[in-house]
């Protein structure tokens, strides 16, 4: 019961946050002077193509770009009627991309799922790598295991993601025969799901996952190591050792469980970084996620597309953070039984 109440509260805050975030995003997107169409009109006028101007003017009123900003926002969200009545994010209409001359939903389509997939894979990678290495580094602290993992971790933190991506792609292809570019072999694009397609996607995922996950894994590993070291120096560990508990059991039974909390709570910090990384890496590696779409949309002021992509990215991290908060409550009885108000 407690849990359901907490979950409901968490969902409510998430929705409120999302509303604020949508305003923020809309303002940022509209910071540059003018819009895609007014720029186009100016260009058409300058080159003396009068017939195009009328169409662009028509589109401006059609997408209510000639109204004040707050009205545009309300229409975009779908709480105020536009020229076609209520038609905004809430109604599932994500707007029109001027650059591609198609509905935003058509352009991002598959990319949404691939984005989720890439980020999910990266998060999994972070946990799979950071958990054993962090515990190992703590258990064997001040030995070569510790130093090597620390060094590799630091290097992972310091190397710019996109360069790591380029390097790994190049050498992965040269020596391991890993495929270059994209998230699936070209022949599977637009094809229905099949075993071969899944396989192709998985093989293509290796390098991006590694690249996006490395810095997150390094940070996570260091934190887990520090937490573990704190726990390991406590008297109960010594007691366990004195009573003859097997080292592996001693390690996993209590200290790991204690050190695990911040590990889960940290997903809130991890996810934004991960999504950032995936946008960058997608652009460099030409993955069919929403990263490249965001970049082109921002460069050409294709505002509805850019705003939608930003909204989606924000939603992704917010949902992730919420899940981690809920997991934390399930995991830690101290939080579960109301040590925290709210």
């Amino acid at each position: 019961m407690m849990f359901i109440r907490y979950a409901a509260y968490r969902l409510l805050t998430m929705i409120l946050t999302l509303i604020v975030v949508s305003m923020l995003i809309f303002i940022i997107i509209n910071l540059p002077p003018g819009d895609y169409l007014s720029n186009q009109i100016a260009e058409l006028r300058a080159t003396g193509q009068a017939e195009g101007v009328a169409k662009a003017e028509f589109l401006r009123t059609e997408y209510s770009l000639d109204r004040p900003l707050w009205q545009q926002y309300l229409i975009w969200v779908g709480v105020a009627p536009g020229p076609q009545g209520f038609s905004g994010l809430l109604q599932g209409d994500f707007g029109w991309s001027f650059e591609f001359d198609a509905p935003v939903a058509d352009i991002v389509g598959d990319a949404l799922w691939l984005t989720v997939l890439v980020n999910l894979a990266a998060v999994l990678f972070v946990y799979l790598v950071a958990l054993p290495l962090g515990v190992l580094a703590a258990a064997r602290s001040a030995t070569w295991v510790d130093y090597t993992t620390a060094f590799v971790g630091y290097l992972g933190l310091a190397t710019p993601n996109f360069l790591l991506a380029l390097m790994l792609f190049y050498y992965g292809n040269k020596y391991l025969g890993l495929p270059i570019g994209g998230l699936m072999a070209p022949e599977y694009e637009g094809e229905p799901m099949s075993l071969a397609k899944v396989q192709s996607v998985l093989v293509h995922l290796i390098v991006p996952t590694f690249v996006i996950g490395t810095s997150g894994a390094a940070a996570m590993m260091q934190r887990l190591r520090a937490n573990m070291l704190d726990e390991l120096s406590k008297p109960y560990v010594e007691t366990g050792m004195a009573k003859g508990l097997a080292p592996a059991k001693l390690l996993t039974k209590y200290p790991l469980r204690m050190a695990f909390n911040p590990f889960v709570a940290d997903i809130g910090n991890l996810l934004p970084a991960m999504v950032s990384g995936s946008v960058l890496v997608s652009v460099v590696l030409g993955l069919q996620t929403i990263g490249p779409a965001l970049l082109t949309a921002l460069k050409s002021q294709d505002q509805f597309l850019a705003a939608f992509v930003l909204m989606f990215v924000a939603l992704l991290t917010l949902i992730g953070t919420m899940i981690s908060d809920l997991l934390l409550v399930l995991l830690d009885p101290r939080i579960r039984y109301g040590a925290r108000e709210g």
Partner: protein
């Protein structure tokens, strides 16, 4: 000290039975805080070396023109994509001092790439303190003296040249001017915002605290890079390189403050209840004075350590933005702008030296990390 006939050593100073036994330790106990911090910091070898390295790197910024043999946008049209040249000392078993072999380039029309042939028969000694292209020392004083430059008829590309025949080494040392300072300006912005909002929220509490806290939560839950991209896409394209540089640094700082504000706030919440704060308030100190004189100095050192740890994120952020073409723009030289050239696989494969700017980035970011870790460990000398 003197030696007795039987070989024992003895102190010449007269024995004083009244001397305070704890005196040797006393000097330690009474040492000012910064001495204790320094003693502890000195033991972190890696942090110390990183600190010295960063200090030298920042000191070298105004002398970029002097250190580099070329100016950043100087093109050698005959030497496009020139591979790195080694500086040699011995020619055919004979010591000649630092010299380079001259090279001649030709276009390989089969593979469409430039190939260079080295003429190993003529060693051409480097010139030192020579007069070449003009630059501005300290960004103000016109000067034309370079630490070293190529002899007439040869080139000295330590790290090779890029697609326009510009020297990569010179560009790296000029690029440091922007790449290294972007983090400093960014952290200043983030510091002002973070301490300001954190202090107000922590000190006054109530609804202000609530509002600031929500703002922090929202900003922290958003992915940074897409927002950076969106903000820097809003920078007008007709702005000059200097204004673009400042606005980009400010954008980097704008999204960084929530972490700092959170730390400041939680610290303030606990310190606010201390007696000395109460005392200051009773004596009529205004909130701004209590915050500045009594509360902030308490953990300024911690803030500095955490700032050191967040500078690398900004350096990497600038690199990423410039790399994607939304950060600093072409006539400006930064490491990210340079890497923009190494964007595709072909250049990594055929001209790997265009990716050399990644080395200074990695080294500087590592150095900041080590320095920050060392500072954080040593700033609490009493533990």
């Amino acid at each position: 000290m003197s030696t007795l006939p039987d070989g024992r050593f003895i102190d010449d100073a007269p024995y004083d039975p009244n001397v305070d036994l704890s005196a040797p330790e006393r000097s330690d106990m009474d040492a000012p805080n910064w001495v204790l911090v320094w003693r502890k910091f000195r033991k972190h070898r890696l942090a110390l070396i990183s600190g010295i390295f960063l200090f030298l790197a920042y000191m070298a910024i105004p002398f970029a023109g002097f250190i580099s043999p070329y100016t950043p946008n100087e093109r050698s049209a005959d030497y496009l994509y020139h591979p790195p040249q080694a500086i040699k000392f011995w020619h055919e078993g004979e010591f000649v001092g630092p010299f380079v072999y001259p090279t001649t380039g030709s276009a390989d029309l089969e593979n469409f790439q430039w190939v260079y042939e080295t003429d190993t028969s003529r060693p051409m000694p480097l010139q030192f303190f020579c007069n070449r292209t003009e630059y501005k020392l300290f960004f103000l004083i016109p000067a034309d003296r370079h630490l070293f430059c190529a002899p007439e008829g040869a080139t000295v590309f330590i790290f090779g040249s890029d697609r326009l025949g510009r020297d990569v080494f010179s560009r790296i040392s000029y690029g440091a001017q922007l790449s290294l300072t972007v983090g400093l300006i960014g952290i200043t912005v983030s510091f002002i915002l973070g301490i300001g909002f954190g202090a107000i929220a922590g000190y006054f509490g109530g609804w202000i605290d609530w509002v600031v806290n929500r703002a922090i939560e929202i900003l922290r839950s958003l992915p940074e890079l897409p927002l950076w991209l969106a903000l820097s896409a809003a920078v007008p394209s007709n702005w000059g390189p200097v204004s673009v540089f400042f606005i980009i640094s400010i954008i980097l700082g704008l999204l960084d403050w929530p972490g700092l504000a959170r730390a400041v706030r939680s610290k303030f919440l606990s310190l606010r209840e201390e007696e000395y704060v109460r005392a200051a308030e009773m004596m009529g100190a205004k909130p701004s004075r209590v915050i500045r004189r009594h509360l902030l100095p308490n953990f300024m050192s911690h803030l500095i350590a955490s700032a050191t740890l967040s500078i690398p994120a900004m350096i990497l952020g600038e690199t990423a933005l410039s790399f994607l073409g939304l950060g600093l723009r072409a006539p400006a030289v930064s490491w990210g702008v340079m890497l923009n050239d190494a964007q595709n696989l072909a250049s990594i494969e055929i001209y790997p030296w265009t990716a050399i700017p990644m080395l200074p980035i990695i080294i500087v970011v590592l150095a900041f990390n080590f320095l920050g870790d060392g500072l954080r460990d040593s700033l609490d000398p009493y533990t």
